[in-house]
Amino acid sequence: MAHDHDDHHHDNELDPMAARVRALETILTQKGLVDPAAIDAIVETYETKVGPHIGAKVVAKAWSDPQFADWLKRDATAAIASLGISGRQGEHMQAVFNTADTHNLVVCTLCSCYPWSVLGLPPVWYKSPPYRSRAVIDPRGVLAEFDLVLPETTNIRVWDSTAELRYLVIPLRPDGTDALSEAQLAKLVTRDAMIGTGIALAPEAA
């Protein structure tokens, strides 16, 4: 809004989208379908509490505790819940483990399904049409955009998320990390490593 040239300047303006969302909230509140306090609590959770640091803890535990890793492989939903992380959306989780031969990459070609409970909300590129369309067709080219070049011999397996099933990539544990604690290991696990567009950091780079 150009304040100096607006003859009809008003003190308060709501842009069309802000007004629309207020209208929706008014209607849904009047019908008893949403509670403004609950809306605020959800916003606060996603703005301040949920994020990739949670997924990083899951990965660090999987690296440190073979029994947990095995559980995570068999039943990621239960293994993750055991850490006190609630998938409040009730979606099922599957952990896909990178190996020396196979690198995993997650996309949602349909829309933007993402493991919110362990990674927070997705980055903009994850929601963008070029990523959603190219990850399946040309995963190697997409990874190159992230400056991730894998050996030709490494298979890339692409997992297409759905509303009901969301994937968490368990990256390979970096070399030279045997002496690190779970908390130190968690610092090596980036969001991109858990989507598969990156790998875990080397200890000296963290």
Binding site: E13, R20, Y46, Q89, W125, E145
Partner: protein, 120 residues
């Protein structure tokens, strides 16, 4: 914006503690309403994903996903219209009332729907 530029932008944000989760407050509210309505079992995640996908696949969707939350709101509107909770016309009227209320509210005071000078 190319994928590489989007990535670079995102990594720039990551260096600054991840940047804001939502670009504008209405995006946060729209996001939270969908989570709340799902909690109330108004729709399944599958239904939601179909509705959102339908909006994201419309011709003219922006490559840089900057219209993502516009699509999100449109998907929410389509679902609540489909479930006979509110028609798009109802939302249009109420959104206009909110805008008039904002105009009529002095600076520094909270915007309330009652401030709309026109009778509803």
């Amino acid at each position: 914006m190319s994928l590489r530029e989007l990535i670079a932008h995102s990594q720039g944000l990551a260096l600054k503690d991840g940047g804001p989760v939502f670009a504008e407050p209405w995006q946060a509210d729209a996001f939270a309403m969908v989570v709340a309505l799902h909690d109330k079992a108004l729709f399944s995640w599958d239904e939601w994903a179909q509705a959102l996908s339908a909006q994201l696949k419309r011709p003219g969707a922006l490559e840089d996903a900057s219209d993502y939350y516009h699509c999100w709101v449109a998907a929410l509107e389509s679902l609540i219209a489909h479930k006979n909770i509110a028609r798009v016309a109802d939302i249009d009227h109420l959104a206009a009332a909110w805008q008039r209320a904002a105009h009529a509210t002095p600076h520094g005071q909270p915007i309330k729907l009652e401030n709309d000078p026109e009778p509803h």
